[in-house]
Protein backbone atom coordinates (compact mmCIF):
# COMPACT_ATOMS: atom_id res chain seq x y z
CA UNK A 1 0.00 0.00 0.00
CA UNK A 2 1.82 3.08 -1.22
CA UNK A 3 -0.07 5.51 1.01
CA UNK A 4 0.99 3.77 4.21
CA UNK A 5 4.61 4.03 3.13
CA UNK A 6 4.04 7.70 2.36
CA UNK A 7 2.81 8.30 5.89
CA UNK A 8 5.68 6.25 7.32
CA UNK A 9 8.21 8.48 5.56
CA UNK A 10 6.34 11.55 6.74
CA UNK A 11 6.61 10.20 10.27
CA UNK A 12 10.37 9.90 9.80
CA UNK A 13 10.59 13.45 8.48
CA UNK A 14 8.55 14.76 11.43
CA UNK A 15 10.94 12.99 13.82
CA UNK A 16 13.89 14.66 12.07
CA UNK A 17 12.21 18.08 12.18
CA UNK A 18 11.40 17.68 15.86
CA UNK A 19 14.94 16.58 16.59
CA UNK A 20 16.24 19.68 14.85
CA UNK A 21 13.97 21.85 16.97
CA UNK A 22 15.14 20.06 20.08
CA UNK A 23 18.76 20.85 19.25
CA UNK A 24 18.39 24.21 17.58
CA UNK A 25 16.01 25.93 19.99
CA UNK A 26 17.18 27.30 23.33
CA UNK A 27 13.93 28.37 24.94
CA UNK A 28 12.54 25.36 26.77
CA UNK A 29 8.91 25.99 25.89
CA UNK A 30 9.88 25.66 22.21
CA UNK A 31 11.80 22.50 22.97
CA UNK A 32 8.69 20.96 24.52
CA UNK A 33 6.82 21.49 21.26
CA UNK A 34 9.73 19.99 19.31
CA UNK A 35 9.82 17.06 21.69
CA UNK A 36 6.12 16.44 21.11
CA UNK A 37 6.75 16.47 17.37
CA UNK A 38 9.36 13.74 17.77
CA UNK A 39 6.89 11.63 19.74
CA UNK A 40 4.07 12.21 17.30
CA UNK A 41 6.33 11.35 14.35
CA UNK A 42 7.19 8.08 16.03
CA UNK A 43 3.51 7.23 16.49
CA UNK A 44 2.89 8.00 12.84
CA UNK A 45 5.83 5.87 11.76
CA UNK A 46 4.70 3.00 13.97
CA UNK A 47 1.06 3.19 12.87
CA UNK A 48 1.88 3.52 9.18
CA UNK A 49 4.33 0.63 9.20
CA UNK A 50 1.69 -1.52 10.89
CA UNK A 51 -0.92 -0.49 8.32
CA UNK A 52 1.09 -1.56 5.28
CA UNK A 53 -0.87 -4.75 4.78
CA UNK A 54 -3.50 -3.87 2.21
CA UNK A 55 -6.83 -5.61 2.00
CA UNK A 56 -6.87 -6.98 5.53
CA UNK A 57 -8.49 -5.36 8.53
CA UNK A 58 -6.28 -2.93 10.35
CA UNK A 59 -4.25 -4.41 13.19
CA UNK A 60 -5.85 -3.24 16.46
CA UNK A 61 -2.82 -3.84 18.71
CA UNK A 62 -0.58 -1.04 17.40
CA UNK A 63 -3.60 1.25 17.37
CA UNK A 64 -4.33 0.52 21.02
CA UNK A 65 -0.67 1.08 21.89
CA UNK A 66 -0.62 4.39 20.04
CA UNK A 67 -3.74 5.59 21.85
CA UNK A 68 -2.06 4.69 25.13
CA UNK A 69 1.07 6.45 23.91
CA UNK A 70 -0.75 9.65 23.00
CA UNK A 71 -2.28 9.87 26.47
CA UNK A 72 1.00 9.11 28.23
CA UNK A 73 2.85 11.64 26.05
CA UNK A 74 0.30 14.24 27.06
CA UNK A 75 0.73 13.54 30.78
CA UNK A 76 4.51 13.67 30.42
CA UNK A 77 4.20 17.00 28.63
CA UNK A 78 2.03 18.38 31.42
CA UNK A 79 4.65 17.33 33.98
CA UNK A 80 7.37 18.87 31.81
CA UNK A 81 5.45 22.14 31.66
CA UNK A 82 4.95 22.23 35.42
CA UNK A 83 8.68 21.75 35.97
CA UNK A 84 9.53 24.49 33.46
CA UNK A 85 7.15 26.88 35.19
CA UNK A 86 8.87 26.18 38.48
CA UNK A 87 12.27 26.67 36.85
CA UNK A 88 11.19 30.00 35.42
CA UNK A 89 9.75 31.04 38.78
CA UNK A 90 13.03 30.21 40.51
CA UNK A 91 15.47 31.59 37.94
CA UNK A 92 13.50 34.08 35.86
CA UNK A 93 14.78 32.46 32.71
CA UNK A 94 13.27 29.91 30.35
CA UNK A 95 16.60 28.53 29.19
CA UNK A 96 18.66 25.83 30.83
CA UNK A 97 21.71 27.06 32.79
CA UNK A 98 24.26 25.70 30.33
CA UNK A 99 22.40 27.35 27.44
CA UNK A 100 22.21 30.75 29.07
CA UNK A 101 24.61 33.06 27.27
CA UNK A 102 27.41 34.63 29.30
CA UNK A 103 27.13 38.31 29.88
CA UNK A 104 30.05 39.01 27.59
CA UNK A 105 28.97 36.58 24.87
Amino acid sequence: MTSALLFAFSGVAVIAIGLFGLIGRWRIERRVIAFNLVGSGMFLLFGAVAARRAGVDADPVPQAMIITGIVVAFSATALFVALIERLVAETGRSTLPEDTPDEDA
Binding site: R25, W26, R27, R30
Partner: protein
Protein backbone atom coordinates in the same frame (compact mmCIF):
# COMPACT_ATOMS: atom_id res chain seq x y z
CA UNK B 1 -24.95 10.47 -13.55
CA UNK B 2 -28.16 10.32 -11.58
CA UNK B 3 -29.99 13.21 -9.99
CA UNK B 4 -28.49 12.70 -6.55
CA UNK B 5 -24.96 12.73 -7.90
CA UNK B 6 -25.67 15.95 -9.76
CA UNK B 7 -27.13 17.46 -6.58
CA UNK B 8 -24.01 16.49 -4.63
CA UNK B 9 -21.66 17.83 -7.29
CA UNK B 10 -23.42 21.16 -7.61
CA UNK B 11 -23.48 21.76 -3.87
CA UNK B 12 -19.86 20.69 -3.51
CA UNK B 13 -18.78 23.13 -6.22
CA UNK B 14 -20.68 25.89 -4.44
CA UNK B 15 -19.12 24.92 -1.10
CA UNK B 16 -15.65 24.83 -2.58
CA UNK B 17 -16.20 28.27 -4.03
CA UNK B 18 -16.90 29.67 -0.58
CA UNK B 19 -13.89 27.93 0.92
CA UNK B 20 -11.59 29.36 -1.74
CA UNK B 21 -13.19 32.78 -1.52
CA UNK B 22 -12.83 32.72 2.26
CA UNK B 23 -9.17 31.79 2.03
CA UNK B 24 -8.44 34.48 -0.54
CA UNK B 25 -10.22 37.00 1.63
CA UNK B 26 -8.29 35.90 4.70
CA UNK B 27 -5.04 36.36 2.81
CA UNK B 28 -5.74 39.49 0.82
CA UNK B 29 -8.07 41.70 2.84
CA UNK B 30 -6.26 44.62 4.44
CA UNK B 31 -7.51 44.58 8.03
CA UNK B 32 -8.58 42.17 10.69
CA UNK B 33 -12.30 42.81 10.56
CA UNK B 34 -12.69 42.27 6.84
CA UNK B 35 -10.53 39.16 7.11
CA UNK B 36 -12.87 37.95 9.82
CA UNK B 37 -15.79 38.59 7.51
CA UNK B 38 -14.16 36.44 4.81
CA UNK B 39 -13.37 33.68 7.27
CA UNK B 40 -16.95 33.35 8.45
CA UNK B 41 -18.13 32.83 4.88
CA UNK B 42 -15.98 29.74 4.58
CA UNK B 43 -17.00 28.55 8.05
CA UNK B 44 -20.70 29.06 7.79
CA UNK B 45 -21.66 28.73 4.15
CA UNK B 46 -18.81 26.66 2.75
CA UNK B 47 -19.07 23.88 5.31
CA UNK B 48 -22.87 24.07 5.26
CA UNK B 49 -22.96 23.48 1.50
CA UNK B 50 -20.53 20.57 1.81
CA UNK B 51 -22.65 19.01 4.56
CA UNK B 52 -25.85 19.40 2.53
CA UNK B 53 -24.11 18.01 -0.55
CA UNK B 54 -23.17 14.83 1.26
CA UNK B 55 -26.55 14.19 2.89
CA UNK B 56 -27.95 12.22 -0.07
CA UNK B 57 -24.84 10.05 0.01
CA UNK B 58 -25.38 9.03 3.63
CA UNK B 59 -26.71 5.49 3.98
CA UNK B 60 -29.05 6.32 6.86
CA UNK B 61 -31.14 9.21 8.13
CA UNK B 62 -29.15 9.15 11.36
CA UNK B 63 -25.93 9.87 9.50
CA UNK B 64 -27.55 12.59 7.42
CA UNK B 65 -28.74 14.23 10.64
CA UNK B 66 -25.23 13.88 12.05
CA UNK B 67 -23.87 15.78 9.05
CA UNK B 68 -26.27 18.58 9.86
CA UNK B 69 -25.30 18.52 13.53
CA UNK B 70 -21.62 18.82 12.69
CA UNK B 71 -22.40 21.93 10.69
CA UNK B 72 -24.42 23.30 13.60
CA UNK B 73 -21.52 22.76 16.04
CA UNK B 74 -19.08 24.54 13.78
CA UNK B 75 -21.57 27.34 13.22
CA UNK B 76 -22.05 27.85 16.94
CA UNK B 77 -18.33 27.78 17.68
CA UNK B 78 -17.46 30.03 14.78
CA UNK B 79 -20.05 32.62 15.72
CA UNK B 80 -18.81 32.88 19.29
CA UNK B 81 -15.11 32.87 18.42
CA UNK B 82 -15.61 35.48 15.71
CA UNK B 83 -17.44 37.71 18.13
CA UNK B 84 -14.62 37.44 20.66
CA UNK B 85 -11.96 38.02 18.01
CA UNK B 86 -13.64 41.13 16.68
CA UNK B 87 -14.14 42.57 20.14
CA UNK B 88 -10.61 41.83 21.28
CA UNK B 89 -9.24 43.57 18.19
CA UNK B 90 -11.28 46.64 19.05
CA UNK B 91 -10.19 46.53 22.68
CA UNK B 92 -6.54 46.30 21.80
CA UNK B 93 -6.77 49.16 19.36
CA UNK B 94 -7.95 51.33 22.24
CA UNK B 95 -4.88 50.56 24.33
CA UNK B 96 -2.43 50.85 21.50
CA UNK B 97 1.11 51.30 22.62
CA UNK B 98 0.34 50.77 26.28
CA UNK B 99 2.76 48.24 27.63
CA UNK B 100 2.80 45.89 24.72
CA UNK B 101 6.26 44.81 23.82
CA UNK B 102 7.58 42.70 21.07
CA UNK B 103 8.45 39.14 21.81
CA UNK B 104 12.07 38.95 22.94
CA UNK B 105 12.37 36.35 20.25
CA UNK B 106 13.56 32.86 20.85
CA UNK B 107 16.69 31.94 19.01
Amino acid sequence: MNALAIFTTVFLIAGLFFFIAGTIGLLRFPDLHSRLHALTKADNIGLGLVAVALMPQAPSIFLAVKLGLIWLFVLLASAAVSQLTARSALGHRAQLGSGETNDPGPV
